[in-house]
């Protein structure tokens, strides 16, 4: 199993009245989620907290009940755990979508979701929207999430494309939770190593602090202090949006068996 030290922090920022971000930090489940809600009259708050709550509830059932039903839609290119995470995202999308259609004031509400979960020895990262998931390893920071924004998708198509789009598109998402009946999350699964760090955030942070700066500020600090310093910096630079950060540090990757036999089996390759 993977031993993780975790910390999460959310802050309203300096300009907004309410906080539409939600987060989940659950070391028992090995599940960490950031959701950035949108939609007026507190609907954004409703959307993001629904996402976070549903994700937690869904993933918890596998822990509490060994007979819990595996997802009906099984993607064979993904591991069992990755299928569960994706399925949790589909369910959350469905819940937000249903609720948004149940009340006029919730109409059109939505949320991003960025979720990380750990298996015995891997990290699974999945997202919808533009809340980034960074992996810090060997002094380098890489993105495990795929930004679903007009600009990013245009950029991928052809580098000079985004020039045509104005400022109005900088926050324009191409996918979000709760907007349509179905959603397609991006997902990846990577081997986990000791001292890996992960940073999940809402765009309140990523708009203000570059990945390089995040790397520098987080790598030699405890997750707790890392969160604090990132939130403070985003606020110092204007705090235009709600700011949410989760920082995770992998303390150890332990193998199931006892220490000695586990070690031997690792070396000898016989389990």
């Amino acid at each position: 199993m993977v031993v993780v030290e975790s910390a999460g922090l959310t802050d309203v920022g300096k300009k907004r009245k309410g906080n539409e971000d939600s987060l989940l930090v659950d070391d028992n489940l090995g599940l960490y989620v950031v959701a950035d809600g949108m939609g007026g009259h507190q609907a954004g708050e409703v959307a993001s907290s629904l996402v976070v709550k549903t994700m937690g509830d869904y993933m918890r059932q596998f822990r509490n009940n060994a007979d819990a039903e595996e997802p009906a839609m099984f993607d064979s290119t993904l591991s069992k755990e990755a299928n569960r995470l994706i399925s949790g995202i589909h369910l959350s999308n469905h819940v937000v979508h249903r609720i948004s259609n149940s009340k006029a004031s919730y109409k059109g509400m939505g949320s991003t979701v960025s979720a990380v979960c750990f298996t015995i020895d891997t990290i699974i990262a999945s997202n919808v929207g533009d809340s980034p998931i960074y992996l810090i390893r060997n002094e380098a920071i890489k993105t495990l999430s795929v930004p679903h924004t007009v600009i990013a998708e245009q950029m991928a198509l052809h580098p000079d494309g985004p020039m045509r789009f104005g400022k109005a598109f900088s926050h324009m998402l191409t996918r979000a939770m709760g907007i349509e009946k179905n959603v397609k999350p991006d997902i990846c699964e990577v081997q986990c190593f000791k001292n890996d760090m992960l940073v999940l955030s809402s765009d309140g942070l990523s708009d203000k602090v570059s990945p390089k700066e995040i790397l520098k500020l987080v790598k030699d600090r405890s997750p707790d202090k890392g969160c604090r310093i990132l939130v403070d910096l985003a606020n110092e630079r204007g705090g235009d949006d709600n700011i949410t950060v989760i920082v995770l540090k992998v303390k150890a990757v332990k193998y199931e068996k006892g220490r000695i036999s586990g070690f031997i089996s690792r070396i000898m390759g016989s389990q």
Partner: protein, 237 residues
């Protein structure tokens, strides 16, 4: 945001709808480099364009061979109004503002906020950009392949998000050998590239002769060695 609806002749079904953005220029023509492509020989390569000028949309004919018509009148430049019918060759583009659309100067206040784009609108916008690009990049995703150089035959497609290589029979790529780990290595498909990671076993993987201690991004034609096995990593487009 105004819409241009493309039809073949006035009364037929619509072929496609284009949203036009204030502040954005739209080119119309037969060539793929246009924003709105009309594939018909009656249409010039670069036939006409629409510009956002001041507070309205201006249609300009780019000295096309067969001309541009607005409401059946030959037009050289024309300020577009609601309901205008632009005829190019045998195709028709109908210009409409959205219902209750805010006037040009308004509606900018919410710019900083995150919004979700109407997917229909986006697709149509994207479609015109994709049309010229899609053919080059396929689905926009390149599939990695492991091609055996020694110890095995053929190719293994890396279509999974996480491909396991090792001795264990449940591995995606089974590699025999006393020193090869049950799971010797994994290859994950990450947004930027494929990464190979060492997991366990006495035989650590090597990439181009260098031992992999944790994880390394794979590049085109990298040679991976695990025990007596040798594979080459290839990006297929």
């Amino acid at each position: 945001m105004p819409t241009l609806t493309l039809k073949f002749k006035k009364d037929s079904a619509k072929i496609r709808e284009y949203k036009i953005e204030k502040g954005q220029a739209v080119s119309i023509g037969r060539l793929d480099s246009n924003d709105i492509v009309i594939e018909n020989l009656a249409v010039s390569g670069h036939h006409a364009k629409i510009d956002w000028a001041g507070n309205g949309f201006l249609l300009t004919d780019l000295k096309s061979k067969n001309g541009t018509f607005v409401n059946d009148q030959l037009a050289i430049s024309h300020w577009l109004k609601k309901g205008d019918m632009i005829t190019i060759g045998k195709h028709v583009l109908i210009f409409e503002y959205d219902k209750g659309e805010a006037q040009p100067e308004k509606g900018d206040e919410k710019m900083g906020e995150t919004m979700v784009m109407d997917t229909g609108k986006y697709r149509s916008m994207l479609a015109k950009n994709v049309s010229s690009v899609a053919s080059q990049s396929g689905e926009g995703e390149q599939l990695g392949v492991l091609s055996f150089l020694a110890g095995g035959d053929g190719e293994v497609e890396l279509s999974k998000k996480l491909t396991k290589l090792g001795k264990n029979a449940s591995s995606d790529v089974v590699l025999k050998g006393f020193f090869v780990g049950q799971t010797a290595a994994t290859i994950s498909k990450r947004p930027d590239a494929y990464y190979l990671s060492y997991v366990g076993g006495f035989s650590k993987p090597k990439i181009n002769g260098k031992v992999v201690k944790d994880s390394v991004g794979l590049k085109q034609f990298d040679v991976i060695e695990i025990g007596s096995f040798k594979m080459q990593f290839i990006h297929k487009s």
